[in-house]
């Protein structure tokens, strides 16, 4: 469904992504784990066209995304929940959700998605009219995810959804990710919380300073000695 081939990304002269290849199949949850600065966020931003790649390709459903203007990617069914939520603080919860459906024109379908999102995130319905900037961190994460779902994506890229959340909220967010996946949406998950990420993922890739150093079945990686030592704190 999504294939990243020999990706190289630079920030000026600094090479952030050295040579990264991986693939995501339909229906999977794929985790991309690694320490701070390993290049996880950069990879997601390159996939959704926010950062240009120096070399390599991002193929989504047979189309090279590098050739598509970045604002047209979401309409193709690829939604990105950025690191740090990035909700629009001056817009209400409801308006933020509408922004998620910006490229969709069928009002009834959008209304349908809205019901769906409110069902998955009842808190958002309670706070419908509240300005997004006044929400708590956990609520903002829910909003960012709900907003992405409003585009009715086939695949969502989630960047550090657990960042800055309490353990209970982390559980909740990961439960929601699993239910999004069960409802038929493919998930590409970037996480520093490797333990949680590996526990829900099908497969995972371990990223270190711009390179993939390990890949495989998530359960197997969980038992891998070096992964345990470096990322699981055991």
């Amino acid at each position: 469904m999504l294939e990243v081939k020999d990706l190289q990304v630079y920030y000026g002269v600094i090479q952030a992504i050295k040579n990264v290849s991986f693939n995501v199949e339909e229906g999977e949850i794929i985790a991309l784990i690694g320490a701070n600065g390993a290049g996880k966020t950069t990879i997601l931003q390159t996939i959704s066209g926010l950062i240009p790649a120096k070399n390599g390709e991002v193929i989504y459903e047979g189309v090279n995304l590098q050739k598509i203007p970045s604002h047209k990617i979401v309409a193709m069914g690829l939604a990105h929940v950025p690191e740090g939520r990035r909700v629009f603080s001056q817009l209400s919860v409801y308006e933020n959700l509408l922004m998620g459906a910006y490229t969709r024109n069928d009002k009834n379908e959008v209304e349908d998605s809205l019901h769906h999102v409110f069902k998955s995130f009842p808190r958002l319905e309670e706070r419908k009219k509240q300005m997004a900037g006044t929400l708590s961190g956990g609520e903002q994460q829910m909003l960012a995810m709900g907003r992405a779902l409003m585009s009715k994506p086939k695949i969502v890229l989630l960047d550090e959804p657990s960042m800055g959340l309490s353990p209970i909220l982390v559980e909740e967010v990961f439960d929601i990710i699993q239910s999004i996946n069960k409802a038929g949406t493919t998930v590409l998950l970037v996480e520093q919380n490797a333990k949680k990420a590996l526990s829900i993922a099908d497969r995972a890739y371990v990223l270190e300073t711009g390179n993939i150093v390990l890949e495989g079945d998530a359960k197997e990686l969980m038992n891998n000695e070096s992964v345990k030592k470096a990322y699981l704190g055991e």
Binding site: Q45, S48, G49, L50, P69, S70, H71, K72, I73, V74, A75, A79, H80, P82, R86, V87, F88, S89, Q90, L91, E95, L98, M99, G100, Y102, T103, R147, S151
Partner: protein, 293 residues
């Protein structure tokens, strides 16, 4: 009674500043740049309306409409040629370019229309209103300017808050990358903002030159700078801020001209800017600017 008359004139002048300030503030909010050529678009608008009305003899309303259309196109062209290529450039480069565009427009006007200033005849034919047994007269220009300013403000606020495009503008002004992820075309949104700002400049032009009839290649510069002061005064990036800043500035200018000194009117306006920047750098309605790391 004369104080009320000054106050009304101040509100009227301030309304014009407010309409111009909208162009500054919206462009700043969305493109994060100061379009210092905005005042010169007003001057060009003045020449366009003057040409169609006084030289070619078209009706005032038609001339103003043509002025609005051509100024909108001018704004779009400036954005496309001068600013769009600099989207990722440092803000100083953009600022210098804006000053360059400003000089370009002034000198083009000088070249085409000549150095001699023109006398703009009013586009407004509303008769003046006489109140309090003739002791208070409100000019036709004022009678049109103030309500028009209110209509513009209200419709613009509704457009920004309620329409899809308007909300897209808020999204772009707050977070360009997040807006792109929603599928918003940032370049198109910036272009729309320039179009709206330039159309408003043409309206401001018609209103301003109807009251202050002297039209030359530099006559957009001073109102442009004052409207910029108004935008900063009200809080740059804020639409209601532009309204409040503009009107307050107009009142301050007229009142200080009347009671303090005619010559020092402009100086007092800029003194206000300095005081505002010292006391509340974000302006009356301005939000704290968060630097993203």
């Amino acid at each position: 009674m004369s104080f009320i008359s000054y106050l009304i004139n101040g509100i009227s002048l301030g309304s014009v500043y407010a309409i111009i300030a909208l162009g500054y503030t919206m462009v700043y909010g969305i493109a994060k740049m100061l379009n210092f050529a905005h005042g010169d678009v007003i001057m060009v608008g003045g020449y366009i309306i003057f040409t169609f009305m006084s030289t070619l003899g078209l009706s005032p309303i038609l001339s103003v409409l043509i002025g609005i259309i051509l100024c909108t196109l001018l704004g779009l062209t400036i954005e496309h040629i001068a600013y769009k290529p600099l989207r990722k450039a440092p803000s100083l480069a953009v600022l210098i370019t804006a000053i360059g565009v400003s000089y370009f427009l002034q000198n083009m006007a000088l070249l085409i229309a000549g150095a001699e200033s023109k006398s703009f005849s009013s586009v407004i034919s509303v008769p003046p209103l006489s109140l309090a047994e003739g002791r208070l007269t409100i000019s036709g220009e004022t009678l049109v300017t103030i309500p028009l300013c209110i209509i513009i403000m209200v419709s613009l606020t509704i457009f920004v808050r309620k329409s899809k495009t308007g909300r897209g503008m808020i999204a772009v002004s707050e977070d360009k990358d997040a807006a792109v992820l929603m599928g918003i075309n940032v370049n198109k949104t910036i272009a729309i903002t320039f179009a709206i700002g330039s159309a408003l400049a043409a309206i401001a032009s018609a209103l301003m030159f109807s009251t202050y009839s002297n039209l030359s290649s530099t006559s957009g510069a001073m109102p442009g700078i004052k409207a910029f002061v108004a935008a900063v005064f009200g809080g740059i990036g804020s639409v209601p801020g532009a309204m409040i800043g503009g009107i307050l500035l107009g009142i301050i200018e007229i009142i200080s001209r009347a009671y303090i000194s005619t010559q020092l009117g402009d100086a007092i306006v800029f003194l206000v800017l300095i005081i505002v920047l010292l006391v509340k750098p974000t302006g009356i309605l301005g939000k704290k600017i968060q630097e993203k790391v």
